[in-house]
Amino acid sequence: MKSLFKMTWMEAKLFLREPIGAFFTLVFPLMMLFLFGSIYGNKPTSLFNGLGTIDISVPAYTAMIIATTGLLGLTITMSAYRENGVLRRLRTTPISPLLVLVSQVIVLFLMTTFGMVLLIIAGKLVYHIHFYGNALNVILGFILCSLSFFSLGFVLAGLMPTARTAQVVGMVLLYPMLFLSGAGFPRELLPEAIKNISVFLPLTYVVNLLRGLWVGEAWSHHTTDVIVLASILITGILVSIKTFRWE
């Protein structure tokens, strides 16, 4: 327990010392919020069923943070740890590899949460965002989405031979997905043809679930999302256990 605590604390410090990771998790989503807020404001519009742009952007950008930490932050950290021999050094000690994975998940989950909280605070203070959901449901949905994407990150880190390829593949998967899934900007603005593609993107289900829970829709409206995300989570855990390598 003591080693898990120390390791988690250490990884949290390392995360904040790495400017790029901290930027994309904590700063960039806020910049997006203020950029689109300054363009559209948060006036209710029929396009979003009587909600404002910022109302729907807060859960969507939360999805963006989840995807970025999962597919980039986690993938790059884990594959670089393996490639540079950080895991090799840890392997000579009595600790279990699980400790490394668990502390990584805790830190990234806390940072993702922190990123979402910053969005909510900024949205509330500057744009007076509306929230019609149940806080507990949103938190549960957020946990499911985060863990599901983190498990994808571990799979990617395990399958890719080098840190460099892991980073490239992570980016290639992430960036188109951000725009086509409705995380980077509202899916309502996308043409029909592209909306059809989004069915194949895991991030779409994160956006659906979070936006739905945010406005108070019931879980029963989102069984597909939950099934898809839970399947990703379970498959991800199984595959990452299989593909985990110390070196």
Partner: protein, 307 residues
Amino acid sequence: MNQVVQVEKFRKSYGTTIAVDSISFDVQEGEIFGMVGPNGAGKTTTIECLEGLRRPDSGLLRVLGMDPQTESHTLRILTGMQLQQSNLPERMKVWEALDLYSSFYPKTANWEQLLFQLGLEEKRNSYFSKLSGGQKQRLFIALALLPDPQVIFLDELTTGLDPQARHAIWDLIRDIKLKGKTVLLTTHYMEEAERLCDRVAILDHGRIVALDSPEALIRTMGAEERIVFSIDGVLPASFEQALVGVGRLEVQRERVVVHGNVGLKVPLVSEVVTLLTSSGVKFQNLRTEQSTLEDVFLKLTGKEMKE
């Protein structure tokens, strides 16, 4: 004296390449034991199998009486390891590394004290990536000493370090021995083995070609002494003739080397000086060179140790 490490008929191959071909040796409590040999001789494979990081194909391996494969958890608590290729996260500070790794063991040495002993106290707040090669190695030694281990494994400890840093690390290893700990190290620097180890195993192509104390190896196998001096002009033929039966002559322009056996009735050096004087040769910078492990290796394998 207890056996701390025991290796019997140990074999390991990677695909069709035989890395280690049935070697046997043991390491006694309190000694510094070195495995020396060129890259690819099987040193790292042996040490990594003893550390439980790799699985041997066959043979018996025991560390503190335990099997590194099945009792690796206990062994990792009782042993310290420094690996040839390993790292810490770039932005981890020196003190943080020691503090973090301390939490992995049930019982540890005081890391503040280790920091001081290894001369790292000024670097305690530096990032790992900002340390020099020697400082990184000292930090790895500190991490290896952290569990207050009975035996410590050091793989290619001073590779890539400048001579000054290397000497500083040798002093540290001698200190570790003085504390009663057993050290098993690998190196491809013959000088390091000669200066540091109580006993060395010379490995070549996965086999042990010699195993003894450095002094004994040099005495029995490198039974040669060299007298080196420089001259102006050429050596008179009379000197060359007089040398026959004393030693072998090697002339490299103004530099002259006489190779001879040690343990003669008249020491080689006085014989050579007498001959030089009687032949009227003016010589400068005369010195004697003893055999080194390097010569032993050359004699055993017919090739020079090259990095």
